[in-house]
């Protein structure tokens, strides 16, 4: 074991892992985070806390993560390179680890252009791949990025994102290979709606043997309504939503669409459980955390292993 | 102000605008003597600075009479002229001047009647606007 991370232990046990996420509030009420976490805590092995998601200011990922840690849960700290230079990142990593956070996700982050502070200076001192390498060197070499020794190094289990649906497609596996070379331990993918295309990507991943070196958690998002599906198809960059998803939601009554969305997500997980290389699921139930237990149980992934 | 006679400068291209003015003359269609014509080989040659200089020196209105769009003798000189006119309109707006003091017009060589009518209308419009700030300053100086 490289770390104390519960996620690492679950993955090492050979069982499928389940993670989910909680978006912190745009205010100081930490109870919101705790409530959302309580809804899902018995059905997941780790809870991502987003970091200024979509470039909107929110409560700090680390602060919210520490609150979860104090509840005895397993936060996965997200960190974007948009908002911090390497000094700030390393300082926060030391602090987060000192307060019990042992799992993190390295991301570049949505451009400030999307958020509520488009006038902010984007940092992007290092990219997500170099962030992975930095965290790995902190853990395995006890070295700061600048080369100096760390006396008590942080032992982070290192995650990153992958979007199998962004362009150019032929680079998507190669870029994953770069993340693996940089030292990533696990991957949470972008929401999958085009399951066939994901399987094609996964096959290339397996062909290159990358699944042996990194644990891939397939990203699952249940559709709440036809409106949500249409919005994501047309407005969210890098999202691949095939017509059959739209058609299936359109085929049921409006008040049955949410139920259908849950059903579709469960079927998708059951299908992907058989997909070689998939080591678990990352469930992003956007403002719909209460449905996570139903999804996990429906996919036959409950109860979660005790490790 | 009632008997205000504006000074108007019209940059006319040799092939269309100027020929149209000439046609108006030979057919004895009168247009206001306020309009002073400057013949240019092509309105593409009229730069923004020429429009500005005319206004600076006291013209109350300035316009460009070019070939019809698509019929420029030099391909797209009249389109360049439009761009200059638009730019100067914007400058005048920024300065708090009436942008209507600058205009773009297009004629074919045969449009003598229309040339005269447009000259008449433009003169009336400038009369309604009154003397430009620069021409007021110039006349005070005299």
């Amino acid at each position: 074991m490289k770390t104390e991370s519960r996620l690492e232990k679950v993955l090492a046990s050979g069982q499928l892992a389940v993670t989910s996420e909680v978006g912190p509030p745009r205010g100081c009420n930490i109870d919101i985070v705790k409530e959302k976490a309580n809804m899902i805590k018995d059905h997941v092995d780790g809870i991502n806390i987003t970091d200024n998601q979509t470039a909107m200011v929110r409560m700090s990922s680390i602060a919210a993560g520490v609150a979860l840690k104090q509840m005895g849960l397993d936060p996965i700290i997200q960190m974007v390179s948009r908002d911090r230079n390497r000094l700030a990142m390393q300082a926060d990593i030391l602090g987060a680890y000192a307060l019990g956070c042992n799992t993190m996700l390295c991301l570049s982050g949505d451009h400030p252009q999307f958020g509520d502070h488009p006038m902010a200076k984007p940092v992007y001192d290092i990219d997500s791949i170099n962030m992975i390498k930095m965290v790995k060197d902190m853990r395995d070499e006890a070295k700061f990025q600048g080369g100096a020794d760390i006396t008590e190094p942080p032992k982070m289990f290192i995650g990153a994102a992958a979007n199998p649906f962004a362009d150019p497609f032929e680079l998507r596996v190669m870029r994953l290979a770069k993340k693996v070379a940089a030292g990533v331990d696990f991957i949470q993918t972008q929401c999958i709606f085009n399951t066939a295309k994901f399987e094609e990507w996964m096959k290339q991943v397996v062909d290159r043997g990358l699944d042996e070196k990194v644990a891939i958690l397939a990203g699952i998002t249940p559709m709440k309504s036809l409106g949500m599906a249409k919005y994501m198809k047309s407005k969210v960059p890098g999202m691949d939503i095939p017509d059959e998803v739209i058609d299936r939601l359109a085929g049921v009554d409006k008040d049955k669409q949410a139920e259908e969305g849950i059903k579709m997500a469960i079927e998708q997980m059951q299908r992907l459980k058989e997909c070689k290389g998939v080591k678990g699921f990352h469930i992003m139930a956007i403002e719909w955390e209460e449905k996570v237990p139903e999804l996990v149980e429906g996919a036959g992934l409950s109860p979660r292993p005790k490790v | 102000m009632d008997n205000f006679e504006p000074e108007i400068v019209a940059f006319c291209c040799h092939y269309c605008g100027y020929t149209a003015a000439d046609m108006a003359g030979t057919r004895r269609i009168s247009y206001p003597s306020n309009v002073k014509i400057i013949r240019v080989p092509c309105t593409g040659k009229v730069d923004a600075i020429h429009l500005m200089k005319a206004l600076e020196k006291g013209a109350d209105g300035v316009y460009i009479a070019a070939c019809l769009e698509g019929d420029c003798h030099f391909k797209d000189g009249n389109l360049r002229a439009v761009a200059h006119v638009e730019k100067i309109k914007k400058t005048l707006e920024d300065l708090g001047w009436e942008p209507e003091r600058v205009a773009m017009m297009n004629f074919s060589a045969a449009m003598g009647q229309q040339f005269a009518q447009a000259a008449e209308e433009f003169t009336e419009k400038i009369k309604a606007l009154g003397p430009s700030p620069a021409s007021q300053a110039t006349s005070k100086a005299v």
Binding site: S108, F114, P168 | M52, L92, L95, A134, Q136, A137
Partner: protein, 230 residues
């Protein structure tokens, strides 16, 4: 070249409002090419200032001059006589030229343009950013396309997950630099290069180490210059 755009007229007029005699100075280099601060623009701005003073009923005298180059003291020296006659200067050069003029004359020097970026002309009237002057050119490994200047996130190992149909996530009008890099590497048969990890950038040569300066001993030494001339 360095690109620039004229400032809003009202901002310039605000700067010079207290003065009665001003000098508008252009530059014959980059700002002439991008039509922001050459001889033509000096004429137009001076003319606009005069029209404004006519409207305001205020007397202002505007002198016009365009230098061969405003970022060289030798050329800026040529302003001595004109600068002695005016209360203030409006410079239409890039920030380098404006500062050179300001450093040589004890009167207020105001910017008439916003200096934008180092860019190239895409077609007439369109300039696009191509270089950020990072001081450690990596075009040799990226197929001649700069990820620092042209990727919205200056990613060294791109593309990020926001690249769609060759466009950047920030706008469908912005090309994804990493798509361009990849296409170019494929064209050159250098795809294998893609998977080499590019290390975190050292930003010191890019300005992270404080204001930058180049000293060329061979040129800076007056002795050599004299010998060459001899």
């Amino acid at each position: 070249m360095i690109t620039a755009e004229q400032k809003p007229l009202q901002e310039i007029l605000g700067y010079i409002a207290p003065y009665e005699k001003i000098l508008v100075v252009g530059c014959n280099e980059c700002v002439t090419v991008c039509a922001a601060g050459g001889r033509k623009e000096v004429g137009l701005l001076s003319s606009a200032i005069r029209l404004n003073s006519a409207k305001a009923g205020k007397k202002i005298e505007v002198l016009e001059h365009t230098l061969e180059r405003q970022c060289d003291p030798e050329y800026v020296d040529q302003l001595a006589e004109l600068a002695g006659q005016v209360d203030a200067v409006v410079s239409l050069a890039c920030g380098c030229g404006i500062q050179t003029v300001a450093s040589q004359y004890p009167i207020p020097v105001f910017p008439g343009v916003n200096t934008k970026f180092m860019g190239a002309s895409e077609s007439q009237g369109i300039w696009a950013e191509r270089c950020m002057g990072c001081g450690d050119c990596m075009l040799g490994i990226t197929g001649g396309i700069c990820p620092i200047a042209r990727c919205s996130k200056s990613i060294m190992n791109g593309p990020c997950g926001g690249s769609v149909n060759g466009k950047c996530e920030i706008s469908p009008d912005v090309d994804c630099a990493w798509q361009l890099i990849w296409d170019r590497l494929v064209e050159l048969g250098l795809q294998d290069r893609y998977e080499e990890l590019v290390a975190a950038k050292d930003w010191r040569p890019a300005g992270g180490g404080g204001p930058r300066k180049i000293i060329r001993e061979d040129l800076a030494s007056s002795k050599i210059i004299t010998e060459d001339n001899a």
